[in-house]
Amino acid sequence: MKSKLFGTATIAALATVAAGTLPAMAQSPIKIGFVSTFSGPQAAIGEDMRRSVELAKEHLGGKMGGKPFEIVYEDDQFKPDVGKQKSEKLVQQDKVNFVTGYIWSNVLLASLKTVTDEGDTILISANAGPSQIAGDLCNKNFFSTSWQNDQTPMAMGEYLQSKGVKSLYLMAGNYAAGKDMLAGVKRTFKGQIIGEDLTKWPDQLDFSAELAKIRAAKPDGIFIFYPGAHGVQFLTQYAQAGLKGQIPLYQVFSIDAITLPLQKELALGTLGAQEWVNDLPNDANKKYVADFKKKHGVYPSYYGAQSYDAIMLIASAAEALKGDLSNKDKVRAEMKKANFKSLRGDFKYNTNQFPIQNFYIQEAVKDPEGMMTVKTIATAMKDAKDPFYEKCPMK
């Protein structure tokens, strides 16, 4: 028994060392670390991101700036401390040139300093956008290919304001991102907020009490933020309570390519806001969506599109520098140009290195083959900047 245990430890040590040294013997490729959630209930999001990264790799022919590149995927298990540990491993052991991914704000915040300060490595968030990093904590080594949390609900609020919606009932999970989302919609929607519920997170399964309150309050519309499985739950219960058709539902991050196969017809007609939609009419996007669908039989989500963009952003800098990434100042300067074909259309970087970009209103519909998807129906905001960039000391 004893020797067995030691045997395992030895193999483990060998495996770790082998994983660390073998690739280094090849002709020093560009290495990109990708931290996302690949296990547990949220693994579907990580899978969508990985598929998009692999597609980006395929579209680039496995090379950027004339050099081969490889992606090292790490699973954060949806836990900030694990995410930090994995980021540390990528920087210190795998010695990657870039770290990207990050679905969750808390995982990103836990990992940020390890990567950007201690490791002096460039981090590109492909999803999470907590306000701190857009403001005080902004960092020369941090870039975003997504958005700042407040922006998407701001776009939704702006649209509802312009459509003359008089009153809203707001609902979100009781956690940091949920509060950001409600704060965001309140920045732009000037009508009456008739009621507001922050529900237990993540363990609330039942929204009956809140739906009964909404029925009694009779608002013009309901605004929700319930990502992932909670979005499925909310929509189902909203329909079962007989509110669909009576009080319209508006959402951010609650109806997407990952949840739609579960929400099905219940989602039809629901409006939401997003910076990227699968039908945006630029060539890069058309190719991405078509190839993704052909390969996997489903639509990609914004998580995937933002991850694809992150790889393309890195590739643009590597191209411009002909694969020589040794001078970090030059790399950062190239990245800041955002000189690549983003799937959302071209954008510029703000001083805090978050995109200045458009936000669109999308509607859940059925495509000609009967598959659920979303389509663009309006532009809610043009060249929007996040509300925190002025707090960022970088100019």
Binding site: K2, L109, Q132, L137, Y175
Partner: protein, 321 residues
């Protein structure tokens, strides 16, 4: 001391401690900085596991909320740091006192219950603090808060990885020393006696409740110490550090290593971290892509350990004398 080295257990223990003592030199020699990071976390978690073992292993009191002390120690440091109090001379004592007081309070309320009731009431109090932490918007709420490391001007610089590691290792040695004194004292014997039969100890005239309360409180103090170090290690605090999953992990570690043994929690922590780091790459060696499913192997492993390795890893090193 020398005689102890002749037993396999003594030899292995000495070897493990020796490797841990010189770890920064080894990782520097082999240019494996990441291994030092893992080592630091192992040492910090060991402190928490040893402190849990004081009540769980020796006392038979299954606390399902021990990670709360990670949180209390960590948040005390983090909150002070957020208000510009960066001196460790203030931060650390405040954090230790906070953890001690909270342990005394929940101990006084929880120790009236037994068995599953005790498991659940300690969980309840931990959840309470967890949600309070998630509601502290001034300190990042669920997103957590980036903090700077404690300062001990002129003495040591915690930003240096090796220095910080040695500090953690010294704290672990102190905790182990205290635990061994505790276990072999008259006080410890009462706690251990009450584990198997608290009615008899009460009948013998020992105030079992008060003894247990003191043990629970001390265990909380050392848990708080681990929290202080954990917050400094990551330069980050968040409610996730005290989620019930972490409390569960700590229990698993103590049982895995060997309950009621001095070095068991240390072995348990090492095994836990090594498994977590090595199972995914190992599985990938056998079948590409299966590394992500490592828990399908880890789960049954826990079952087998619970069923067949009753004394934990410590028992693999031969019978205790």
């Amino acid at each position: 001391m020398i005689a102890a080295l002749r037993t396999p257990r003594g030899l292995i223990t000495a070897l493990v401690l020796l490797v841990l003592a010189v770890l920064p030199l080894l990782t520097q020699a082999f240019d494996q900085r990441y291994l030092l990071s893992i080592g630091t976390r192992i040492v910090i978690w060991s402190i928490a596991a040893v402190s849990l073992n004081m009540i769980l292993g020796y006392g038979g009191l299954v606390s399902f909320g021990h990670a709360v002390f990670f949180g209390i120690g960590g948040y005390a440091v983090g909150i002070l740091s957020a208000h510009g109090v960066s001196s460790g001379w203030i931060q650390w004592p405040v954090a230790l006192i906070a953890a001690t007081l909270w342990a005394a309070l929940i101990g006084a309320l929880s120790l009236r219950t037994r068995g599953l009731y005790f498991i659940m009431i300690t969980l309840a109090f931990a959840q309470l603090v967890y949600y309070v932490g998630g509601g502290l918007e001034a300190y990042g709420a669920d997103d957590g808060l980036n903090i700077s490391r404690s300062r001990f001007p002129g003495l040591i610089d915690l930003r240096d990885k090796a220095t910080f590691y040695w500090l953690c290792f010294a704290a672990l040695c102190g905790t182990l020393w205290f635990c061994s004194r505790f276990a072999n004292s008259r006080f410890g014997h009462v706690i251990r006696g009450a584990k198997s039969n608290d009615l008899r100890m009460t009948a013998l005239g020992f105030p079992v409740f008060r003894y247990r309360l003191v043990a629970f409180t001390l265990s909380g103090t050392f848990g708080g110490l681990a929290g202080i170090l954990l917050a400094n290690e990551g330069a980050y605090i968040s409610p996730a550090m005290m989620s019930w999953v972490k409390s569960g992990d700590l229990i698993v570690i103590v049982v895995l290593g060997g309950m009621g043994t001095l070095f068991g929690p240390l072995f348990g922590t090492i095994a836990f971290f090594v498994l977590e780091e090595s199972l995914p790459p190992l599985l990938n060696l056998f079948a590409k892509g299966w590394g992500e499913y490592w828990q399908i192997v880890f789960g049954p492993m826990l079952i087998l350990i619970a069923l067949y390795a009753r004394g934990g890893i410590d028992s693999l090193f031969g019978q205790r004398s």
